[in-house]
């Protein structure tokens, strides 16, 4: 079977929309099925990979950081990048201007900087493209 590639455009900022979780599930599933994945993170989605995120305790419930096991999106992105390090391959591109606007340049390893032209190239070269817009 020829190589298949799925390109996904994300726009939602972390911790705001269920769509981020669904996108992570789609990306993980595609990689597990041997499908290459391109991600173009636009607008608030560039912060999904921001390295400075930190899990927190929950003082209302009296739980510690360890007990809370708070998942951070940067850890999820890092795990996906690790899954897609060889074959199939995951390419994660953050919109550079969106990064600069948000001061979100400190990303987990493996995240590249790019622009809409990269997204266009990804889409043209992919089997299919899924755009997940903000609401």
């Amino acid at each position: 079977m020829p190589d298949r590639t799925l390109t996904v455009a994300l726009m939602d900022a972390p911790y705001e929309a269920s769509a981020s979780t669904t996108a992570f599930r789609i990306i993980a599933s595609a990689l597990a099925q041997g499908i290459h994945v391109n991600v173009f993170a636009y607008e608030g989605a560039v912060s999904l990979a921001m390295k400075d995120q930190a899990p927190h305790a929950n003082p209302v419930k009296g739980t510690s950081v360890e007990q809370e096991e708070h998942p951070t999106t940067k850890d999820l992105v890092a795990s996906l990048i690790e899954l897609g390090r060889s074959e199939p391959r995951l390419t994660w591109v953050n919109c550079g201007l969106c990064v600069d606007e948000r001061g979100a340049g400190h990303s987990v390893d493996g995240v590249k900087r790019g622009g809409p032209a990269d997204f266009y190239k990804m889409a043209v070269e992919s089997t299919t493209t899924l755009v997940i817009p903000t609401r």
Partner: protein, 110 residues
Amino acid sequence: MASQYVFIESRDPFDSPDTGFVADTATALHQGGRPVTVFLVQNGVLATRAAARGSHVRRLAEAGVTVLADDFSLRERGIEAGELSAGVRPASIDALVDLLVRPDTKTLWH
């Protein structure tokens, strides 16, 4: 070969009246002879309960559109298989990915 269409509906029809647009478009494409799947995810699965009044899901299924509901989203919301409207099938995210990468498939997220 006619294009296949996959509509991913993530919105709750009870707070997003524009979900009717997806149902209308999916039905029209199907009536035009195109294979069409509507994949319900997140709050989109709230439309799947057979007892849900005003849901567009029954109309879609009766029109012959394939209607799938994300099993993870169903479990999150406590919706069990026995509650589903006729014509709705639970499906995994793997099944959605398989649909997305089929040749000549056009996908729209709402």
